[in-house]
């Protein structure tokens, strides 16, 4: 089976405008991934599925990863010229750089026809707030149906082109995306607004606090 670098070169020759890079996996598994740009991703996915050498007809696993914004401290050695004319001094300079956050989708593709794989695809969103739309691969592989819905539900990535993008595990009225790293669980999961509290509040504005109707005992006290 071709290495990710070979696949990337072949894809770049086929799709000249696309931006494809290899994301290396430093661990012992050493399964490197292909990072695609959102504009060409679906065309490339169709190509990978139908290419006779790859035949990646089976999309096994779809998942999201949240990478929040993080501060990276770097130390660089800078040579400072001596004003007195002596040899230049080498000084360690500490800089802080903010790496912008993004959301990532990972697809694990295999070939059932040729019994090979995996080829790992990654797509990244622009940020974590308003540029969270990525192309859906559901038209390419049906198995993305529920799994992309799950990523939408838990990570908040919007899949453009998915025909039925609804929440799947959380209930429809739920607001947040619980798999994000900055998600804070509510203190009381059971709390929900009831009409009862609104009615009570309104009753208190209609009746003075001391009146018998507001205490609810029908004026017996």
């Amino acid at each position: 089976m071709e290495t990710p670098e070979q696949i990337r070169d072949r894809l770049l020759a086929r799709f000249p405008g696309a931006q494809i890079s290899v994301v290396t996996n430093p661990g012992p598994a050493a399964e490197h991934a292909l990072l695609l740009d959102a504009a060409h991703a679906r065309e490339i996915a169709f190509f990978l599925r139908d290419d006779p050498a790859l035949r990646l007809d089976y999309c096994s696993n779809v998942t999201g990863i949240d990478w929040p914004e993080k501060e990276i401290a770097e130390t660089a050695k800078v040579s400072v010229p001596d004003p007195a004319g002596g040899p230049a001094k080498i000084v360690e300079q500490k800089t802080k750089r903010i790496q912008p956050g993004f959301l990532e989708v990972v697809y694990h593709l295999y070939s059932m026809a040729l019994k090979q794989g995996p080829v790992i695809l990654r797509l990244r969103t622009g940020n974590r707030t308003d540029q969270v739309t990525l192309p859906s691969f559901m038209p390419v592989w049906r198995s993305c149906d529920f799994q992309e819905r799950e990523v939408f539900d838990l990570f908040g990535i919007v899949f453009e082109g998915h025909p039925d993008l609804r929440r799947i595990l959380m209930w429809d009225e739920f607001k947040d995306h619980p798999m994000r790293k900055d998600y804070v669980a509510p203190d009381d999961f059971e709390w929900e607004p009831t009409p009862h509290s609104d009615v009570l509040a309104r009753a208190q504005t209609h009746y003075p606090a001391a009146s018998p109707a507001a205490t609810g005992d029908g004026g017996k006290s």
Binding site: P26, G27, N61, M112
Partner: protein, 398 residues
């Protein structure tokens, strides 16, 4: 109407009433079919194998639309996995598919071993195969029993299956301390070494298993009602099965020869001589037969494993239990579970907890095609088709 009240109304309430979710039956008008009936089956329906709901739109008794609804058992297993150590997730994996804790453990251990580059000693590999195949026997015999429950046999075949299952669960209990929540595998080996008596008892149970299968098949396989209710019901084409990522016996019933034990050859499976049964029609009957035939192949694997089981350590000497921190990287480990491909995707940032912990659950993905299989069949058939998919809601909802 009091105008001051309507100003403060929630805008959602002011909009036209949306259909109420819940166990309701309502009429839907479709310009093509005329009056249809929408039935919500579940979540407390005896045939849905747990808290699973199907919103079925019926034309007479025929299904024209089916939407599965789940998540009632959702506890965000993946977030729990990110908030605990690598080893801490091992007992949680038991609770995914609670019929197959041994294979869940193995899939997770395999992913972590791949992430950390951890070797596994020979004897542990054999024990893993033995326990995984015993789990397959448990799962498939129960599934066949439950499938017959869905066909309306009211527990008799299921109790035959439970009788055999109980023997194997006794083995699991003797070995790991728990019948179903085994928590047995570790990164780099297994937790307990079985005694010679345990192996002898296990060998005897496996020797007796084909006799149970013969009895089971004699009662069930040729049964006329069974044939009438399952043959040609819920057909799944090979193309759709591949595209929808269906795995396990359900995929092979559609005639696609893809068994991860053969394809990946994980563990020591290439050493065993076994065949992968394939179906022809992809209907409910083929899915039933797949399970029965796979059980016979599992017995063959078990006999070879008992014969070849070597002596030796069950844990790799260099395996780290406490303070386990794999290097930064990621790994996707998958095995052929009884229900299909169960995979774990782990991303490590070098810390004691996984940065990302993902479970690829076979029953969750296998539900994708439920609607496609049910369309055009009667509502009674949808129960049987769902039964042949083999879902466990602990794994679907995670």
């Amino acid at each position: 109407m009091n105008t001051s009240d309507s100003d403060t109304l929630d805008p959602r309430l002011a909009a036209p009433l949306a259909p109420l979710p819940g166990p309701t039956v309502r009429e839907v008008h479709d310009p093509f079919h005329g009056d249809l009936l929408e039935v919500s089956m579940g979540p407390q329906h005896p045939s849905t194998h747990g808290v699973f709901r199907m919103v079925v739109t019926l034309d007479g008794e025929t299904i024209v639309k089916l939407k599965p609804v789940f998540g009632y058992l959702h506890r965000n297993h993946e977030k729990l996995g990110e908030n605990t150590s690598y080893l801490g997730s091992m007992p949680y994996t038991d609770r995914l598919d609670y019929l197959c804790s041994m294979t869940n453990n193995w899939a997770y251990a395999l992913a972590v071993e791949k992430l950390a580059g951890q070797p596994v000693p020979e004897r542990a590999q054999y024990l893993r195969v033995i326990l995984a195949e015993l789990t397959r026997l448990v799962n498939h015999s129960c599934l066949v029993g439950f499938l017959f429950n869905d066909l309306g046999t009211s527990f008799t075949p299921l109790l035959y299956a439970f009788r055999e299952r109980e023997k194997i669960l006794d083995l699991f209990e003797a070995l790991s301390g728990s019948r179903m929540m085994c928590n047995y595998q570790r990164f780099g080996g297994c937790r307990v070494d079985p005694t010679p008596e345990w192996l002898e008892a296990a060998r005897r149970i496996v020797e007796g298993f084909p006799r149970f299968l013969d009895e089971f098949e004699e009662l069930l396989t040729g049964n006329e009602i069974m044939l009438a209710r399952t043959q040609g019901v819920g057909c799944l084409s090979a193309e759709l099965a591949t595209s929808a990522g269906i795995t396990g016996p359900m995929l092979r019933a559609s005639g696609v020869g893809y068994d991860i034990r053969k394809v990946d050859g994980y563990g020591i499976y290439p050493r065993f001589d076994f065949r992968v049964p394939l179906g022809e029609h992809g209907d409910t009957y083929d899915r039933y037969m797949m399970r029965v035939l796979e059980m016979r192949e599992s017995v063959k694997i078990l006999q070879q494993a008992f014969r070849d089981l070597p002596a030796g350590p069950i844990m790799d000497a260099k395996a780290k239990i406490r303070g386990f921190r794999p290097k930064a990287g990621e790994a996707y480990g998958r095995i052929e579970g009884p229900k299909g491909e169960i995979g774990f995707y782990l991303v490590s940032d070098g810390g004691p907890n996984p940065y990302r912990y993902r479970v690829r659950a076979p029953s969750f993905v296998n539900l994708t095609v439920l609607e496609d299989m049910c369309l055009g069949h009667t509502i009674a058939d949808s129960v049987v088709i769902l039964g042949s998919v083999d879902i466990v809601l602990g794994e679907v909802d995670r």
